[in-house]
Symmetry: C2
Subunit: 204 residues, 2 copies
């Protein structure tokens, strides 16, 4: 009954070791680097734990030992925010187009990789919950108070849905029409449709 820190009495989730030694930390980051690389390169399903372990030069079992599960490793490794960050800080009136422009920017090819990996992992519960949390924290929290008119939270959530729809068609489905279209036209057209959710025309 009296044991160490590996497993506590009630929560099997808190299994990450505290006070790790230098060697442990080194291999941990090696595994994280390998995971980041392979998840981006091959997606969630395509990157096997064994391949990640091989890339990091360790035993597959050690990956699970350190991170608990492949899903947990993914969550600790892949940035679910896709690097949005400061885009949301600008003026609300042009946010629609700026959001679309950010994700369509060819100088950020990492976004596509991360989104594909994220979408593949989306039907695992922990990842799903993290995405919900991220939406609430990154989008709804900061944005809803700045909106006028009814149902601000819902309208932000719907704007996020609309944004996700574009990423889905563009990066996952690779729809030929949208892919071949002039990015500026997509930014203007789709951005304005998102804008309508954030600042409806009858709410000046």
């Amino acid at each position: 009954m009296a044991y160490g820190c590996r497993v506590t009495q009630t929560s099997p989730g808190a299994q990450r070791p505290r006070a790790l030694r230098p060697a442990g930390l080194a291999t941990r980051t090696a595994i994280e680097d390998a995971a980041r690389s392979l998840f981006a390169e091959r997606g969630f399903d395509g990157a096997s734990v064994r391949a990640i372990a091989a890339e990091a030069g360790v035993d597959p079992a050690l990956v699970i030992r350190h991170f608990g599960s492949k899903e947990a490793l993914f969550l600790r490794t892949v940035d679910t925010s896709l690097g949005i960050g400061t885009v949301l800080d600008g003026p609300l009136e042009t946010l629609g187009r700026r959001l679309v422009a950010y994700f369509l920017d060819p100088r950020r090819p990492v976004i596509r990789q991360r989104y594909v990996a994220l979408a593949q992992a989306a039907h695992h519960d922990q990842v799903r919950e993290e995405m919900i949390r991220h939406t609430a924290e990154t989008y709804v929290g900061p944005l809803a108070p700045r909106l006028t008119g009814p149902h601000p939270e819902l309208r932000v959530a719907l704007a996020v849905a609309q944004l996700g729809g574009l990423l889905n068609l563009l990066f996952l489905q690779r729809d030929p029409i949208v892919t071949a279209a002039d990015p500026e036209v997509v930014i203007a057209t789709y951005g304005d449709a998102i804008q309508r959710l954030l600042t409806p025309p009858d709410t000046p």
Copy 2:
């Protein structure tokens, strides 16, 4: 070099046997029924070939024998259209709201199941191509000619993207905000945003 009908010379895809006998047809439909049921119930990943075979009362190998692969069985079994059909026939001016209303209708719980299964299978190439084909055939083809203004095909594709975004947030991510919201509000708000893509206000 000279063999029967199982595999033709050039196309390895046409491997389904012709002129099947009654017994074969019966088990084929049994497998299809089991697959339809389990794919809807557990999704693409959750429904294993072995489970489908067990439900149909046959050997797992027979499933692959008959359909070539799990992916092919899925494509032959699940309706990728989600039953849209006649919704697109009505007046263009109210199509945005009608589309959203169709997918939010609680009398059609099958839609959610099929969408989840479809989304899980979406990163397999054949399924992806089928979805692109379906978008082109069901939405872009009939709708784009009815649109006025510039880039009609692109605007239809973007409307489809937007619609998919809602389904994604609602059925896959199960976002609490949208889930808890009044469906009528969602239909009005999101439907009007879609409508803006189809009939922009500056194109009367």
